[in-house]
Amino acid sequence: MSALARILVVDDEAQIRRFLRVALEAHAYAVFEAATGLEAVQKAATEDPHLIVLDLGLPDIDGKAVIAKVREWSQTPILVLSVRQAEAEKVEALDAGAQDYVVKPFGIKELLARIRSLLRDRSASEDAGVHAAVAIGNLHIDVAAHEVRKDGKPLKLTRKEFDVLWTLARHAGRIVTHKALLREVWGKAHEHDTQYLRVFIRQLRRKLDDDPASPRYIMNEPGVGYRLLEP
């Protein structure tokens, strides 16, 4: 692994590319730019980035098409930039293979948090790790023991509750869409049963003593999915 993580920034607005380059380079990332979808696909191959920051509204081909093309040969994490109106598009991009999204306009702090989360995942997978245990703040999740401890005290979770939490924990800091979560825990047949999820998340929050109005652990992204917050 090279010293600097390489990030490909895809946006047709030169101003946004400039601001991202300045901000990201300040945080010690190597930045490459692409202004069109086709250029993005090309640079994704030639520059071998560790992460792609992709704007969905591109002048030539649609951002989702870029995701699909890149996903044909690469599992490079993709972070999508989108405007609020495009919830449906956002979900489609996530389902097409993007890992996470940030709503425009965004603060650099938020973006950096997402980028860090995605790049950590990269290094983690390079650890060839079967995650036996994960620690999120004062929360300890041990998959082998099937046990969750908060501040050292064990919590009593049902199997499904544990599965939900474990799925979120594996992607900690990243969005997990309703669909992905349902598929993972309940199977493909229940992909659209979001009301299950709502009930389980609610129970889980109660057991974790988490306030939905100002969550410390499980964050709701309306209409899209859930995210387990990092400490």
Binding site: R84, P105, Q195, R198, G223
Partner: protein
Amino acid sequence: MGPAPSSESRPEPDALLAEAGKEGRGRLKIFLGSAPGVGKTYAMLQAARTRAAEGTDVVVAIVETHGRQETERLLRNLSVLPRRSHFYRGRILHEMDLEALIERGPQIALIDELAHTNAPESRHEKRWQDVEDVLAAGIDVYTTLNIQHLESLNDIVARISGVRVRETVPDNVLELADEIELIDLPPEELIERLRQGKVYLHDQIARAIENFFSKGNLTALRELAMRVAADRVDAQMIAHMKSHAISGPWPTQDRVMVCINEAPVAKPLVRAAKRMADRARAPWLALNVVTSSRESLSEASKDRIAEALRLAEALGAEIASVNAGSDIAGEILEFARSRNVTRILIGRPRPRRMFASFTRETVAETLVRKGEDFEITLIAADQDEARKAAIRAGRVEVERDPRAYLAATGIVAFAAATAFVIERVFPVASLSLVFLTGVLVTATRFGLWPSLYAATVSFFTYNFFFTEPYRTFIMHRRDDILTLVLFYVASILAGNLAARLRNQAIAQRAIARRTASLYEFSRKLASAASFDDVVWTAVSNVGAILRCQTVALMPGAGDRLEISGAFPPLDELDARDHGAALWAWDHGEPAGRTTATLPSSNWLFLPLRTAQGTQGVLGIKPEDRRSLSPNDLRILDALGDQVAIAVERTRLVSDLQDSRILSETERLRSALLSSVSHDLRTPLVSIIGAASSLIEADEVLCSDGRRQLAETIREEGDRLNRYVQNLLDMTRLGYGALKLNRQPSDVRELVGAAVRQLGPELKRHTLILDVADDLPPVDVDPILMQQVFANVLDNAARYAPIGSNVTVTGATGGDALVIAVSDQGPGIPPADRERVFDMFYRVRAADGQRAGTGLGLAICKGIVDAHGGGIRAGPAVADGTGTRIEIRLPLAAGTKRSA
């Protein structure tokens, strides 16, 4: 806006239009001849050749050479338009191709035989109508005409020559001519030409050749032609003087009026009036006198009146009609005085039956007696026609229904039975009165003929049963004979009177019925609000009143005429009918059946005209092949007028609504502009100012100062972003493009997301979240609802003093969840509580508070309403201070359980 220009300095628009119409019109030159064979066509072709030689574009639209070589020679080198072939009843008819001619658009078109009647299914019935179209297209026309084809001379020519020509041209066509050239040939030469076989003759004249081409006839016709041409010269002179404002001794204006009734002299009367008016150069009018017996007239009589009126109109008369009660002459005179009429023409009364001449004065006699201040002319009918007319007039419409006679027999039998009884009881009673009663009953119930029948039967019954010797038709006693004869006379007279009464009653009933149906129609039309309602009311009622199929055509998308309603429903008209409808629409005149334009159509189309222009076309098609009676046509006219006005009314209403919507849109647009220009610029001022300070004053700023400037940029940027979001949401709400992606959502989560979204905006206040964790979920679009909460919270933060509390509460209420956001601000005045949800509305506060776009709450209302919920504003505390925005949201299905 400046003051309106004064009306005096502006020419009348109508006058301008008329002027413009004249400008673009072609000139008409008529080669007028006194008889066939004088060489009109030859003269026309020679004139055309001269013009062609001068370089004018001359086209022969249609010229009949009838195989004469000298004429055919003249046709050489002239461009000839191909004719159009019509197949009609196995024959091929060659007609002028009107469309091709107008398309070709030459400078001069040669159109022979102005009086020609076109093949059926042509655009117009007559060639002179074609010529009018050609002139209207701006093409000059050379044409030929024989004097006997002139409508007003038709009778005279018939009287001179003994030949009645059917193909006639209305006199005003002659008046349209800009130039008339009289083609003259002395009678001797014409007869010589005839002998040499140089004259082609129409069938009609060929049959009467001996009669027609006598020297006396030809001389008379020649004189007539010359007089017509001379009259024209006179008229042109007068027109010239008038148009050049040459003052002259103008005689006081004469005005001629002709009275028309169902008598067969009506048409000759009209022609006579036209001649009189022409000679006097006076305007003239034709008066249709409607009497109460009008309703009981036969269809044939009504047709005659209508024909006469049509003729009068074609001859340029103004048409008027008066309803007269018993005093017909009085009504006529009153009307004549009101219109400054000087001369009245009326038909000579027909020979009257004996007793009628004693009892009543004829209308003509009364007119002569009372109308001392008028010049009154009585016109006699044609001898032949008068005799026929007398026969027709003497014949009252015979009742043919056998049931009437059967009933009359029954009544007489009953009278006889009664007479028997009475004779037993009072032997001296005058039994004839019993029978007379029976006859009167018959007359009032069944009319004249059954009453005559009843009188006769009574006569014999009385004779048979009640006079000595009984049971024979023989009478011995003289007083019996006298009684019977008197009885017979009395019963016929009484029956006659009773029958007349009955006719009048029937007529009154018919008038009342029609008035009622017209009134009903106008009432229904007036109550029909929308355009579709009006059209439907119109077609269904016109159809019912006239017992016919009805269709209404109105301009639809792209101003194309399309069916907007029909009774019974109809999808489309065939090409011919549609063509007639289009013609009526384009020209604003009736077309189709019973008219001069496209009479082969099954439909009669009436333009729906108002002062604003033609609104559409109303078409009717009688159920069977019966032709429409003139009465029906008049009703149709009246109905059409009402429909036109109603259609116009709905158009005006919808125009008004459109303009109202437009002005509303205009108001919103200007509000939006001011919002964009002011409210959106405010955060930009802070952003640009802060950013430029960072750039320019980097060295002198302490790190805390830099941080503050950066925070300002960030906060103002967020604010700007929210404004833009609101504008976008409003646009989506306004265009109905808002799609709800509903899912069961927890209110606490939504409020939490809204609070996170607002970020620093809420930091200056204390947020108290009193929403239970276990409230049932609501069925909403989470993203839109997050925006609602963000807007309401933002609003609270903006108006409440810094450091005060903003409280959010939630509770179930019925099948809804009520979320309330309360602040400790100044509150909303009661009068404004509804209006805060209006777009771009802001409560004006005295001190300069932070500006908003005035969109936030309007968007909240739009979104909440779209969810089927409700939102309202009220005071937070009972004393009226503070603001409490209450939002009701529907619960998700299957979750209406208590916590």
